[in-house]
């Protein structure tokens, strides 16, 4: 009951940012897909017209320009951007509004308060991920495009969303730090950005997933430790 009350509060406080991110993703996604669908002179159709009779299209998806390329590019900003904003909203903003004291004197463990915030953020990213999956499903409809969208595109989107969570945790660490920005305070955010760069530079999915798991584990344990001992 306590956790749910905290979770509801966090979800409600973060909702406007989710709406903004979701609308942005949907708008870019749907407009891009519509443009693709209505442009028979585009590269996709040119490929198709060049096919020999009887030629199969099984491998074509490796050649065709991804229809979700533009929304995917936007997702690289939407995911980390949402993470940054949610961390600031949940952990930094209350330092200025002075609501930490009221929140922390609830009859709940400090860790419960933190988990409620993390769970709310998880829900936010899950919704963005589902929107992305929905876009992928829409882009893969045979009625719209004869060739389905590459599953790699779907996976890439989810990786960018997970990167958003890493940026969120890194920003939380920096927000919780009481040191100066030009000293250790920047470390959390810098570490998350480094992870983003490493992930962007990887080409094999196993290494990407491994990097993400290790990075998220490090950031999560550090966030827990920092929040439990932080003075407010």
């Amino acid at each position: 009951m306590r956790f749910l009350a905290l979770l509801r509060k966090e979800l409600r406080e973060s909702l406007p940012w989710l709406l903004l991110a979701g609308l942005l993703l949907l708008a870019v996604g749907l407009l891009t897909l519509r443009a693709h669908a209505q442009a028979p002179e585009g590269r996709y159709w040119q490929y198709r017209q060049g096919m020999a009779p009887g030629e199969t299209v099984t491998e074509w998806r490796l050649l065709q320009p991804a229809k979700l390329e533009l929304p995917g590019l936007w997702l690289t900003f939407i995911g980390p951007g949402l993470g940054l904003i949610l961390a600031v909203r949940q952990f930094w903003f209350p330092l200025f509004t002075g609501t930490w004291a009221f929140l922390l004197h609830r009859s709940a463990l400090r860790s419960t308060i933190l988990w409620a915030k993390l769970a709310a953020t998880g829900v936010m990213f899950l919704v963005v991920g589902l929107l992305w999956t929905g876009l992928y499903g829409y882009a893969s409809r045979p009625a719209l495009f004869p060739i389905p969208e590459s599953p790699q595109m779907l996976l890439n989107g989810w990786i960018y969303i997970a990167l958003g969570f890493a940026i969120y945790l890194g920003t939380v660490l920096s927000a919780l730090s009481e040191a100066r920005w030009y000293t250790t305070r920047i470390f959390g955010l810098a570490f998350a950005l480094l992870v983003a760069l490493i992930v962007a530079g990887q080409c094999h999915i196993i290494w990407i997933v491994a990097t993400m798991i290790v990075a998220l584990a490090i950031l999560l344990t550090q966030t827990l430790a920092a929040f439990l001992k932080r003075e407010f």
């Binding site: 009951m1 306590r2 749910l4 009350a5 509801r8 509060k9 409600r12 406080e13 509004t97 002075g98 609501t99 930490w100 004291a101 009221f102 922390l104 004197h105 609830r106 009859s107 709940a108 463990l109 001992k229 003075e231 407010f232």
Partner: protein
Amino acid sequence: MSEIVLETKSLTKYYGARPALDHLDLRIPRGCICGFLGRNGAGKTTAIKMMLGLLEPTAGSATLLGCDATALTPAIRQRIGYVTEGHRLFRWMTIGRLEKFQQAFFPDQWDAKFFADMIEYFELSKKQKIKHLSNGQRAQVSLALALAPNPELLIMDDPTLGLDAVIRRQFLEGMIELITRQGRTVLFSSHILADVERVADRIVVVDKGVLRADCSLEQFRASVRKVVLYFDDSVPAEVELEGLLHCRRSERQLELTLVGVGEAEVAAWARQAGTERLDFVEMNLEDQFIEFTAPPHRRRLFQWEEAQS
């Protein structure tokens, strides 16, 4: 001996090399209404935050309802009401939503009728958003939220700061509502001495992080006194009285503020200094507090004024 509800032992907090609170020792028994006084920056909020486990003490400890402040369990927090400084609540919530939020943390002890009555008494509506409330109205909501679970211990950090006289009176009446319940303990910091005088039965004074007084209100009222001595010639250069807080001189008058010095003792010293003409000046609690905590360099300002005249 009555049960100690709140106890601090050498509670100390340093920010860098600067002490915000220095070895605070307190023992607040059950049923006590304790006014926690001090000037701005005296260490009151720091002490309260350490008592509630929001700040880590540099040294010493605080115990609330038998539990160490650094490890307050949810069950113990449930028994403690806390009104934060400035009444910082979630601005986007309505009063009704805030009630539901608060209620979730007091599942068995939330008094919905009491909360509704208080909101009605303060002429508020549950549909009002916190961000649309005045400072005074937010204070009233804070108090109602803190009192509705019927806490055993209520800690309030400068709850009447910035409130007008009417709201302050309503706030205090709400507080008295709790006090009238059997065995409830209240610790509240304040700058408004009239409020303290109205409800507190004990006062604790901190100054620059150091405990200066911890006694009953009556004791404090009787201890801090001002006396004016009249001399035919010049006033004595030295005043050797233990308990002297301030000494102000004019050409033929000596105004002394004393703490814990009896009338007979003052009269004896006056005779020794060459006068028998002296008046004890009536002081209200605010004057006593100001004299008790005013920095000694006020005297220099007084001398400067003399030099100007």
